[in-house]
Symmetry: C2
Subunit: 566 residues, 2 copies
């Protein structure tokens, strides 16, 4: 049997457009004598559809598109499409997250998803009823163990949040499935490619059947999908692999069981491709921007953001603006000019002193007798943000925000200032990885795209004389290590202190700063997600809250004492 | 039996502080010879705890606090506390949302929540395993049908999203429950009070037992809780009722079965109290702000916001700033000055022309030859936002954002401009209700707090000469009607057109504007939720998306044709 892995890149909500693209890919596959075309999870509406699914008229549109598609299928071919399907039971959630098996002039067959991820960025139980039952679908003499995304992930070794009761893959095999076929919308993060390989190898070892994974590709706002569709033979070896980060039709003949030689991924190279994909897709799918616009500070974050934008959109569609103040070192402007020259982008210089002076004089009656501080620093950052947004409004440009994950964690950034923009490119990249990206982008092109002086100078916000990040923050290698343990591994101060050797009070204060700055992140632009725990939709912390470790410790002590005395 | 309804106002995450306040309320009840004290849902950690629950160390702290509390209970009293409790099964979600029945020196008893709301602002299946089983707890010869919040809501008439399989209340009664006791964290919205009454009356009619509802009170960031704890007798009459919007201990003797005379709520009066509560609680629970700061435009939104702030914090803790530009009518400043005088708040006048002129001259080389438009208008709005934020940063003031729901829907507001701030007071109030609030606040005090000229003038952003809202937007009564049907009732253009008689193209364009402006709302400050569907956490729409009604219609037409030809 010839199976096509249709690694499709949908636009969320564009049900008609997505259906038409399905048909194009199906006709292409048909011309190549394919028997079965498999699309990703929720391919007809795009992942994640969010609360579009709460609208009955959207689900109606899905039904229209599925009927339209089925009527146009060539004779003999079968396709599996991902779609939300109405639950006929008046009790339970109104939809299933389904794989729809379609042939021309035959009743559609359905496999509804059993395991509904509802953690981090996933909220499937918001919309979907878990299926109580799945069965293989017979096609051309083979029992196809079709299932959807999370249904393959219930092995203890891979459960970050919790295990499920059911094991859909095992249930399909016990019903005689000859091959497992998974429709996914599995987002990129740095370890996912290897994790998918390991998981599928474990499943093949347990069940001794080949495994086909077809995943969505592209990016939708904050979520990036690398695709990574593949086929493993019954022994777990990869025998077909789709190109990463590209829409593609990978055709696999089930006779082809020879292992491919799959090189391990370079973490930073993949991160680079992911971020480029995220920018390009935000731009393309929005379809309204003329250029990307970046405030160039001479620092590493804006330089890397600009270089990524060039890789995503081409130099002619990227514009830099350097906005010096009286605290900007001459190096800042020079480095921005060198960067622009290296990247081949235009760069305008708009000094912000007139605006800053205007605000300071407007505010001087009210501010009289106060010491210059954060208010004055933020006036500078916000004058820059305002300038960028004015240019964006005037010419229809997309402002790319340059802050990194370390800054966002600590609130070391100005709301409505450097946090302004439509897409925060590095919001999920820790500072040390921003450096790694810079070095990688220089190495791989063999030339100094990011000026070495930018990479080598001490990071500074340049909002007051001789300011350095390290006046306010721990050194980035230390900071990133602690933040990763707190944010991504959800460890508390005491355990982090124990594991790293850093002083408990130092760690506690740092975690408190993370908690306290939730209000800033609430108002941040969407950020490209590249880790398993990004700020934003996947990490929902209260804004007004109090978690007082000291009082809890005293309460614990107090209870113990009480117990001993009793 | 004497039961105390402990209508508690927790701080989210402040487990130690909340536990101590539990003990105070319990000792108060004990001194009044109460047998049983009932606290609201998740009272020990506060609702909604969000992803604090993903942290194992937070759940540890809950266990510490529960043990601490139990050891301090007076002899003879029993208490029911709401808490996240670990699920001992290695499969399934790691926690239950539980009612914990505690007495001194006795094993704790648990009732775990069965129905886990996961829609709108609720995301309980993100954290909790649904309970498979509940039983009444016997205390002093009575079988107490204790259950948690949503467990009482599974009647078809009240299901907005879907029905559940199980009916926990009926199951408790079938096991002999003599009285139903519900622990809730039920947020305020304009129709909730009546809805709770109707629902409980229906439950009493079906089951013929008294019903005790104990709900959280206060506000946590965007969510406001009116409390509304009460007891209904077996006939469904209200026999005890806690004061709304206040922490309180309402003691009910089970012999007291005489109906109270409960006046129906005035919708606008309740809205006023809810918004005042939201502001006061954001301020008190944050505990870091000196004053509330409001940009006064002379318009209705900022006037109402300022008056609400005064009612929440007192006039001495509210500061207004009027920031005229060359397009501001003289009336704008005058009205702001009158408002400040009426409210007794300080008002500073900071003209923004110096900043606007500075930006225009800085940008003039780049903008040369372009026509003035949105870019120039937004420079004004953002210069105001920047000014407010500078004052906020300087003095530690909380900027209250003044935009209303109609504006937010249409994107008729400037990101980083008038959308700046820590809390968006009117974000869930349609414009016509802002007017109603203004009139109510004048009527109820019998004096002109909001200047009549502010109420009567045509709404204008005053960002260009003679600008009026109605140049860009439909009249507000029309706009609000359509928006309510789309946002709150999730109806599509065709049905809205049918129901209201407005032209379909006009409606479609309006809905498109709502969709297109999701990117602005993504970066809005948290807004006080007062309806059943507020923008923000409860309405999660894709930012980059496309929903093309025309293409779907053509596809439907096309499929029909195809079918006929076939």
């Amino acid at each position: 049997m010839k199976i096509a892995l249709a690694q499709f890149n949908p636009i969320v909500g564009d049900i008609a457009g997505n259906a038409k693209r399905h048909l194009e890919m199906i006709l292409d596959a048909f011309s190549k004598r394919v028997d079965l075309v498999v699309f990703p999870e929720l391919s007809i509406i795009g992942y994640p559809p969010h609360d579009l699914l709460d609208n009955s008229f959207v689900v109606d549109a899905v039904e229209v598109a599925l009927k339209w598609l089925q009527k146009r299928l060539p004779e003999g071919i079968a396709v599996v499409v991902g779609a939300p399907i109405r639950n006929p039971d008046p009790k339970g959630k109104k939809l299933y997250n389904s794989a729809v098996f379609l042939k021309r002039n035959a009743p559609a067959q359905f496999v509804h998803k059993m395991l509904l991820p509802t953690y981090d960025i996933y909220e499937e139980y918001r919309y979907f009823e878990p299926s109580a039952q799945q069965s293989p679908i017979v096609f051309k003499g083979l029992k196809l163990g079709i299932h959807v995304c999370e249904d393959m992930w219930n092995l203890e070794k891979y459960a970050t949040y919790h295990m499920y009761e059911r094991n859909p893959v095992a249930e399909l095999v016990s019903q005689g499935a000859d091959i497992l076929i998974n429709l996914s919308a599995s987002p990129y993060s740095h370890n996912r490619h290897a994790l998918r390989t390991n998981l599928i190898q474990d499943l093949c070892a347990a069940h001794h059947v080949p495994f086909v994974l077809v995943s969505q590709v592209g990016a939708n706002t904050d979520m990036i999908f690398d695709g990574d569709s593949r086929v493993h033979n019954a022994e777990g070896d990869i025998v077909a692999l789709a190109p990463s980060f590209e829409e593609s039709l990978t055709i696999w003949d089930s006779e082809q069981l020879m292992p491919l030689n799959v090189a391990p991924r370079n973490r930073i190279a993949a991160l680079h491709r992911a971020l480029v994909c995220g920018i390009a897709e935000y731009d393309r799918k929005s379809g309204i921007f003329h250029k990307a616009l970046i405030g160039l500070s001479g620092g590493i974050d804006s330089a890397v953001t600009a270089a990524l934008a060039v890789d995503a959109l081409g130099a002619e569609r990227v514009m830099g603006i350097t906005m010096p103040s009286k605290y900007s070192s001459s190096g800042s402007v020079d480095d921005s000019v060198s960067l622009a020259k290296n990247l081949g982008i235009t760069c305008h210089n708009i000094g912000i002193s007139p605006a800053v002076d205007a605000f300071e004089s407007m505010l001087s009656p009210l501010f009289e007798g106060t010491k210059a501080g954060v208010a004055e620093e933020n006036i500078q950052a916000r004058s820059r943000g305002l300038t960028l947004m004015a240019v964006s409004n005037k010419f229809g440009h997309l402002v790319l925000t340059t802050g990194n994950k370390s800054e966002y964690a600590m609130g070391y950034s100005t709301l409505y200032g450097d946090m302004s923009g439509g897409l925060a490119v590095l919001a999920d990249v820790f500072k040390m990885d921003v450096y790694a990206l810079a070095r990688y982008m220089n190495e791989v092109t063999g030339c100094e795209r990011i000026p070495v002086s930018t990479i080598e100078k001490a990071p500074s916000a340049e909002l007051r004389p001789d300011q350095k990040d390290e006046d306010s923050l721990p050194p980035y290698p230390v900071l990133d290590e602690i933040l990763r343990l707190y944010v991504e591994h959800r460890m508390d101060a005491s355990d982090i202190s124990l594991q790293t050797g850093y002083d408990i009070e130092f760690v506690t204060n740092l975690l408190r700063a993370v908690d306290r700055n939730e209000y800033k992140r609430k108002q941040a632009p969407p950020g490209l997600r590249v880790s398993d725990k990004a700020f934003g939709r996947g990490r929902r912390m209260p804004i007004v809250m109090k978690f007082d470790r000291q009082s809890i410790a005293e309460m614990m002590q107090d209870s113990l004492t009480h117990l001993t005395n009793a």
